[in-house]
Structure formats: structure tokens, C-alpha cells
């Protein structure tokens, strides 16, 4: 019988430091067949295992054209992530997945795309941005609004220049606060403070939102206010998962499993369970 609880093995091929407590790991499945078969949509997640410590659900931050290499961007906040931070290039890690439902890239075709991310919420959306970059003619206007606590908390900063060069795109960066002595040329304020300068019109647009749940609820409300329908908004939820395959129950939200029915949900489907503002 196939056992979904057994992790496969992957090499850590590269580690990129994003911020003082966040790294991006490039993983390569040990098994050649698994490497070949490993296909995913941005927004899906994997279960990473450190034997003796445990497992954690981590989203994939690369886009599928990455030739069997998988990027995951991890902030050091708990037992498992702490153990992952002790690993070096060339070390092995347990991997299961990919699991869940990613961003609806097919539904987004020929539409304007609004990406709103807060903090680590950019990780599952990076694959979407790079996918659009590589398939530019399939999608309409691309607008990215990214907010973080401080400039030093922003991730993937080395890719912003590439993103700015994407045809027919707009990028807004904003932070909550700028520490003394740090140079910051962009906005200070919540992600929603970028809304007045937003180019995307709700007509024929689709919004992908990921960040802390309180931010997503607020963003969804503001999007509704400017004319977005609930079915044009997609959000990606965070829960601590123990199995990733819809059995352990921990990620239940109302009548949905975040691991199996999500983590990306159409806002209209999940609205009543997260009690909107």
C-alpha cells in the first residue's frame, strides 16, 4: 500500500539568505524518478521533515519551470525551521508532497493580475510572478503590492529589478516602519495605502493575496470596497499541518481543510469561515 506519510529524500543544493531570519533553500529530490515527476503549481506546499525534530508545511516559492529544483523560503520561527537553519549545503532533508491547491493560473489567463503580499506572504506568490514573467503574453496587466515590517524584512529583493522590467507591470513596495539610518525610497504604510495609486481596474482582474490573516481580511474588505467581487479574490491561508493530506484535522477551518481544499481559496468560498471584518 502506498504510504503518504513516508518522506522522500532531497538534497539541499543551495541556500540564499533573504533577511536576518529568512533563507531560501533550493532542494533537489534524491530519487531521479521523483525529481522528474515532481510537478506543482505555485501556491502548493510541501512537508519538510527533520528526523528527530518533526515536520512542517512549507510553501513552494519557485515556479514549475525550475527543472526539478524546488525553492522553499523559510523563516526561522519554530522547532522544525530552527533545525532546518542548522543544515548546510549538501545536507539531506525529508520531503513529501506537493500537496494542496495552488493559485488558479488557468483562471488568471487573459486577465489583469493584482498580487498583494505581506511579509512572508510573498513566498508562495514568487512562483506566480516568475511564471507570468516567463509566459508574459498569456496574462494582462501585472501589479504587485508588497509590504513588510521594515526594508530589512523584505524577501527576494534581488529579483525586484527583474520584476520591474516585466512588460506592462507596476510594482509598489511599502513598509510599516523604517529604522533610523536606513535609506528607503518607497512608501511607508499598510499595503492598502497603495490602493489609491493602483492601476488595476476590478473589471477583468483577479487578485492573489497572501500574508498574515488579519491583513488578508482587511485587504479583501478594501478590494470589495473598490469593486472587486468575492470570486475575483484568492487568498492563501496558513495553518499548522501535521499530515498535509486531510487526515490529522489540525488545519480545519469551518467545513474546509486548508491542506486539501486550499491553501489557496476563492474568497467567496472561505469568507464565512474566517469571519470577515
Amino acid at each position: 500500500m502506498e504510504n503518504d506519510y513516508s518522506p522522500n529524500i532531497a538534497f539541499i543544493r543551495d541556500i540564499t539568505q533573504e533577511t536576518s531570519n529568512t533563507n531560501t533553500y533550493t532542494l533537489e529530490p534524491y530519487d531521479k524518478i521523483m525529481k522528474k515527476k515532481f510537478s506543482y503549481t505555485p501556491g502548493q506546499f510541501i512537508m519538510l521533515s527533520i528526523f528527530g525534530i518533526g515536520e512542517a508545511a512549507i510553501s513552494i516559492s519557485s515556479d514549475p519551470s525550475n527543472n526539478g529544483f524546488i525553492n522553499t523560503t523559510i523563516r526561522n520561527v519554530g522547532n522544525v525551521t530552527n533545525a532546518i537553519f542548522r543544515l548546510k549545503k549538501g545536507d539531506l532533508i525529508g520531503i513529501r508532497g506537493p500537496y494542496g491547491i495552488g493559485w488558479p493560473l488557468d483562471k488568471a489567463e487573459n486577465r489583469d493580475i493584482l498580487i498583494i503580499a505581506g511579509g512572508m506572504g510573498l513566498a508562495p506568490l514568487r512562483g506566480v510572478i516568475n511564471h507570468i514573467k516567463n509566459n508574459r503574453d498569456k496574462y494582462g496587466h501585472l501589479e504587485i503590492i508588497y509590504g513588510a515590517r521594515t526594508p530589512g524584512d523584505m524577501i527576494f529583493t534581488y529579483e525586484y529589478d527583474d520584476w520591474k522590467k516585466i512588460m506592462d507591470s507596476t510594482i509598489h513596495l511599502t513598509v510599516d516602519a523604517v529604522p533610523y539610518g536606513i535609506k528607503w525610497d518607497y512608501r511607508i504604510g499598510l499595503v492598502t495605502s497603495c490602493f489609491p495609486g493602483m492601476k488595476t481596474h476590478p473589471r477583468n482582474a483577479i487578485a492573489f493575496v497572501c500574508g498574515p490573516e488579519i491583513m488578508m481580511r482587511y485587504v479583501a474588505k478594501c478590494l470589495e470596497n473598490i469593486g472587486f467581487n468575492d470570486d475575483q479574490i484568492y487568498i492563501s491561508l496558513e495553518r499548522r499541518m501535521k499530515c498535509g493530506i486531510g487526515k490529522c484535522g489540525h488545519c480545519q477551518i469551518g467545513q474546509k481543510y486548508v491542506c486539501k481544499d486550499g491553501p489557496v481559496f476563492q474568497y467567496s468560498d472561505i469568507k464565512k469561515f474566517i469571519r470577515p471584518l
Binding site: 506519510y5 528526523f51 495553518r239 484535522g249 469551518g254 486539501k260
Partner: protein
């Protein structure tokens, strides 16, 4: 595999012969009575079996989805390289004396653990288990299976079915596996009179229930998100005077619930730091840590949110749907230190 049903009669002591036959090739589990209460445990000799029981503290869920179990063991070879080995159980087992509510609960868990991703641990045990069910003649003061459509008599889900019809047991076959288990036994055929007796007993048993619940329209009431949080606040924080005390979030209800499947997964490593096991352990949404995420966030921090989630789940309104829904066994009512009664909650929600 559904087969044509055979009906037999079994003397009261004929159960011994049956158990002896089962013990030849199977591990046998059934209700025993070590003290005041009954419990499901391994039967090594027929005289240990205590079929005349009302209910057990823990449901037979524990045989398929144990309170704790090892998923696999692992061993570090050097540095970060490791091997691991799964722990699957596939012993041939007979579970005897399971009441209809518990059989229905097992059928729901069967569906739950085999949908989408199949759970090999549950299913390998389940597929090697034969269920000899026992119809209920005497419901306890906590039982309300009749209201939930899961009892007191069973119509599906058994390999063999026993009914105490007074001086003898009526034995019915449900599956080919069940029938095969009786091979070589000389059994008296039952006649129409015995079947009539069973029917009569069923009607009598139905009248003996002290607890009833009407679940009609409950899901529609609960699905309405404008629904009053007042009920949950009272259940969790204030209690209903004369009915229940505030919920203690002890999690006993989910522990004794035959359809609660939620579990936690963790690693245990031995002192050498080289070997360990990954375990899973029953968990409860009533516990504070259950919906915790990184950096201390918690999606059900309030007690009222947690008791609401559990009760919604039992009314089939959580992610498990009817697969984690209530079967009316009454165990949670009996065990609750705060006297919270799920049938009473249903009445409150319905405004009765």
C-alpha cells in the same frame, strides 16, 4: 462482498465455541469487565468475554486508530543520512460484540481514511479485521442512536451479527468473510419465529430510549453565519444553569468519541540521538494548542470557538462532514465533567 444472509441459533454458551473457533486463526478482541466498567480488550479465552455490556469508556476506534502509534522508525547513519522503516499492522483480527453505533462509527472512519489519500495504518488494520456485531436490547440512559439512525439494531457493516433473543442468540451472516468464519461449526438454523422475535425486540428496544435529539434543519441553522454566538459563550464560559457547567476544555469528549479522528504527529528520539520513531497520537480540537501556528498565533484561542468547533463537527458541519458526525453512542455525555449534553445543545440551537 455482500452474500445471501444465513440465520442460525446459538445457545448462550455456544458463544464459547464461536470464540474458540475465532481464536484458532485470529486475535480476538471484545468487551470484558475487569471492574465496574466494561472495556474492549484482547480475549484469550472465551470466559473473559462479557457480551452483556452497556457501553465501554473508549470506543473500538482504538483498534484501528490507536491513541498512540508509531508511523515509522528511523535511524541516522552519519551526519544527515538516515534510513527508515514503516510500522504496519496486518494481524488477522476478530472484533466481537460491537454495538451498532460503534459499527456505524467504524464505517464512517472507513470512508474518511480511504478517501483522497488512503491512510495505510488505519486501512491495513481494518482490512484484516472481521466485525461480529451485537444488536442492542437495552440502551443506556445516555444512548440516542435511535435518533441518529445508527441503532439500536444494525442493518449494515457487519460480517456477523448477534442478537440476544432471550434464551438464545440469533446469529446472522453479513459477508463472505463472516460466513467463512463459521465453516466447520454445526449450527442450528433459525426459523421465522426467531426472526419475528428479533423484530419484536427491536420495537421494544426503540421504546426504551430516554434521550432523543432532533437534528432536522440543524445544519441549516448552524450554517447561517449570523447565528448567535451567545450559545457558545454560555456553553464555554457561563454554563447553562441547571443543565451544564462551563466547558473545561479537557478534551475528554473527543477522546471517547468513536468518530473523532484528529491526531498530532511528533518525533521521539532516543538518548543516542541516532534512532527514533515518528508517532501519531489522538488529539482534540478542545485543547488550546490544537490550532496554534508559528509565533504563538492561534486560530481558536477562545474556549467558545473550540467547543463550537467540536459540536459543529459532531453535527456534521466541519471538514470531516458526516464522517466525523455523531452516532449517538452517548459516551461524551457520560464522560463530560461539566455535564455538557450534545442532545441538549441541539435543543438549544433549535430553540426548543
Amino acid at each position: 462482498m455482500k452474500q445471501s444472509t444465513d440465520f442460525f441459533l446459538l445457545e448462550k454458551n455456544g458463544i464459547d465455541i464461536l470464540v474458540k473457533k475465532f481464536l484458532e486463526e485470529h486475535k480476538v478482541f471484545g468487551p470484558i469487565k475487569p471492574g465496574h466498567d466494561s472495556t474492549f480488550d484482547e480475549i484469550k479465552s472465551p470466559k473473559e468475554l462479557h457480551l452483556d455490556y452497556i457501553s465501554t469508556v473508549l470506543p473500538p476506534k482504538k483498534f484501528f486508530h490507536p491513541p498512540t502509534e508509531n508511523l515509522f522508525s528511523f535511524e541516522l547513519i552519519e551526519n544527515t543520512e538516515w534510513t527508515y522503516k514503516e510500522t504496519l499492522h496486518d494481524e488477522k483480527t476478530v472484533l466481537i460484540g460491537v454495538h451498532p453505533c460503534d459499527v456505524h462509527a467504524i464505517l464512517r472512519l472507513d470512508r474518511f481514511f480511504s478517501e483522497d489519500f488512503r491512510d495505510p495504518y488505519y486501512l491495513s488494520r481494518r482490512e484484516n479485521t472481521i466485525i461480529v456485531a451485537l444488536n442492542c436490547i437495552e440502551p443506556s440512559e445516555y444512548c440516542f442512536c435511535e435518533s441518529m439512525g445508527t441503532g439500536p439494531f444494525l442493518e449494515m457493516g457487519y460480517d456477523l451479527l448477534l442478537t440476544d433473543i432471550g434464551k438464545k442468540y440469533l446469529l446472522e451472516t453479513g459477508t463472505y468473510d463472516g460466513k467463512k468464519l463459521l465453516d466447520g461449526l454445526k449450527l442450528e438454523k433459525a426459523d421465522k419465529k426467531d426472526l419475528y422475535e428479533k423484530k419484536k425486540l427491536l420495537e421494544q428496544a426503540k421504546k426504551k430510549f430516554k434521550r432523543h435529539v432532533n437534528t432536522d434543519g440543524l445544519s441549516a441553522l448552524l450554517d447561517d453565519d449570523t447565528h448567535d454566538w451567545d450559545i457558545w459563550t454560555k456553553l464555554a464560559e457561563n454554563g447553562y444553569p441547571g443543565k451544564s457547567f462551563p466547558c473545561l476544555s479537557c478534551g475528554s469528549c473527543s477522546l471517547v468519541c468513536p468518530t473523532c479522528y484528529c491526531y498530532d504527529v511528533y518525533d521521539v528520539i532516543d538518548l543516542s540521538l541516532k534512532k527514533g520513531v515518528r508517532k501519531r497520537e489522538l488529539d482534540s480540537c478542545q485543547l488550546l494548542e490544537y490550532a496554534e501556528v508559528a509565533l504563538g498565533g492561534n486560530f481558536r484561542r477562545d474556549r467558545r470557538e473550540r467547543i463550537r468547533h467540536w459540536l459543529m463537527c459532531k453535527f456534521g458541519m466541519a471538514a470531516g462532514g458526516d464522517k466525523s458526525g455523531c452516532v449517538g453512542c452517548g459516551r461524551c455525555i457520560r464522560i463530560c465533567p461539566s455535564k455538557i449534553d450534545i442532545t441538549e445543545v441541539a435543543r438549544i440551537i433549535r430553540g426548543e
